[in-house]
């Protein structure tokens, strides 16, 4: 019996499908409980306690929300293009999930270990905006099309800054493979790329917030002017899929930040002499480190949303084009200089 299961597992297609399920099921559960965490954290920051009625301490709230959305009617607005209207959320979720294929969870734990993983992720997150554009366009609604214009312009501008920030990482790691990038940060906590690339790190994360259309860059759904933006006309499961895609993208941005700038699965206690921590079990590389670093960034998303009022549209554009892009370009030059100076421990020539 065990042999049979193992031999089935050896079939490449089955093998890949199993791996996909192993990645996606926890991811979707995380998305569900991320929404719960969001409501709790923002509630706590507003001195209230958030959802606590469904199940013990409200733990079943996301399940109840999902069930409700599944059973709701999908309404197609009159004059909407039904095909595009249905394709749009599918496009949003498929790109959001496809990007996870190249995310490594450990030195060997990766679904697709490709050499241009970073490029692939950039490509996938860029295609995701088409879901939003299609949704707004197919809805045949003024609010939706307005929001689509804003989103398209915003995401395209911030993609440049984000791409430049990642160019810095690629320069430092001399590889587009995420596993190699993480390996390049080993040694100690000072080997992480967040230190030499600190401005790029900050810009990457802020651009990530803008890319996912989260507060304070959520003009795409500015309630006061355009109701809910590109998904005003969506209801039921189609709306839920947009929601899912947005949160999957947030987690993606967080895990990429953890991988590229904070050493991924490397322990922060690596190479610490104090109390022999460097040789204890704490110094071992582990998926726990990766996930806890990711959780920090996920929390930041919520913290930002609870703190900052929405940027005005022209302020968003100014920040993207006149602040972030120049800073990233300048820092790419600085990286070049650091290379020339062979700044240890990141830019040693024979590393």
């Amino acid at each position: 019996m065990v042999d049979l299961i193992l031999s089935i597992y050896e079939i490449p297609v089955i093998n890949i499908l199993v791996k996909i399920v192993v990645i996606l099921v926890p991811l979707l559960l995380t998305v569900a409980y991320f929404t719960y965490a969001e409501r709790k954290v923002i509630g706590y920051m507003q001195v209230r306690i958030g959802p606590n009625r469904v199940g013990p301490r409200g733990w079943l709230q996301p399940i109840a929300d999902a069930m409700k959305l599944m059973f709701k009617e999908i309404i197609f607005p009159s004059g909407a293009n039904k095909v595009l209207f249905t394709i749009a959320p599918t496009l949003a979720i498929s790109t959001a999930l496809a990007a996870w294929a190249v995310i490594p969870f450990g030195a060997e734990m990766v679904l697709a270990d490709i050499n241009v993983a970073l490029l692939y992720i950039l490509a996938m997150t860029s295609v995701g905006v088409y879901g939003v554009i299609l949704a707004g366009w197919a809805s045949n609604s003024k609010y939706a099309i307005m929001s689509t214009l804003r989103t398209a312009a915003q995401v395209v501008s911030y993609e440049i800054a984000m791409g430049f920030a990642l160019v810095g990482v690629v320069m430092a790691a001399r590889s587009l493979n995420i596993g190699d990038i993480v390996a390049g940060q080993s040694g100690s906590i000072w080997g992480w790329y967040m230190w030499p690339l600190l401005p790029l790190f900050v810009i990457y994360f802020i651009s990530g917030v803008a890319e996912t259309n989260r507060a304070p860059f959520d003009v795409a759904e500015g309630e006061s002017e355009i109701v809910a933006g590109f998904h005003v006309e969506y209801s039921g499961i189609l709306f839920a899929i947009f929601f899912l895609a947005e949160y999957a993208n947030m987690i993606l941005i967080s895990i990429i930040a953890a991988l590229l700038f904070m050493g991924g699965w490397l322990s922060p206690f690596q190479g610490v002499e104090f109390l022999g921590l460097g040789s204890s079990f704490l110094a071992a590389s582990s998926i726990v480190w990766l996930l806890s670093k990711t959780a920090i960034f996920m929390f930041l998303f919520l913290w930002f949303r609870a703190t900052f009022p929405r940027y005005r549209y022209d302020q968003i554009m100014r920040l993207g084009w006149k602040v972030f892009i120049p800073v990233t370009i300048v820092w790419i030059y600085v990286i070049g200089i650091m290379y020339y100076a062979e700044l240890a421990p990141w830019f040693l020539r024979d590393k």
Partner: protein, 162 residues
């Protein structure tokens, strides 16, 4: 110089970090949520909830159909018809308050010369159809009879300030 500090403040996101620190502190503050059905906030004796008509201790209804409340009602929610009873006193034939119009300002209670129409502390009630929220004289008197003890205690407490 001022411009320079402003430039560096905005470059290093000084104000944003200040904002984050505020919300960060509030994350650990004691929560002020009142878990409503189990917990309730304290009520004033001047609380203006569901209306009631009161009676004197001998069972005689207080209302003398002076129609001051009808006149003062800003929402025109009260409508009264009066008649002469067999003993020659002026009484109401009907006394209706439409709760869907009422704004719970309490003017009716203030205008009443005989403390007949009052607003009680009851605020958890509902109607399954609109007519359920149309309070007739019988309904108002029934509320008054049921909660007379509480109503009288509240009036006594408030009388000091009148």
């Amino acid at each position: 110089m001022k411009q320079l500090t402003q430039f560096f403040n905005s470059l290093f996101l000084a104000e944003l970090f200040k904002g984050l620190s505020v919300t960060g502190r509030y994350l650990f503050k004691k929560k002020i949520t009142v878990q409503y059905p189990e917990e309730k906030t304290p009520q004033s004796f001047r609380f203006r909830g569901l209306h009631a008509q009161r009676r004197y201790a001998n069972g005689e209804e207080r209302c003398i159909a002076c129609k001051l409340c009808e006149a003062v009602c800003p929402a025109l929610a009260i409508s009264i018809e009066s008649e002469e009873r067999e003993d020659g006193t002026r009484r109401t034939k009907s006394y209706d308050i439409d709760l869907t119009k009422c704004i719970f300002c309490g003017f009716c209670e203030e205008s009443c010369p005989v403390d007949s129409i009052v607003e009680t502390r009851i605020f958890e009630y509902h109607g399954e159809e609109k007519s359920d929220l149309y309070m007739t004289k019988e309904k108002l008197l029934a509320v008054g009879d049921k909660y007379e003890e509480q109503i009288a205690a509240d009036r006594a407490e408030d009388s000091v300030y009148r």
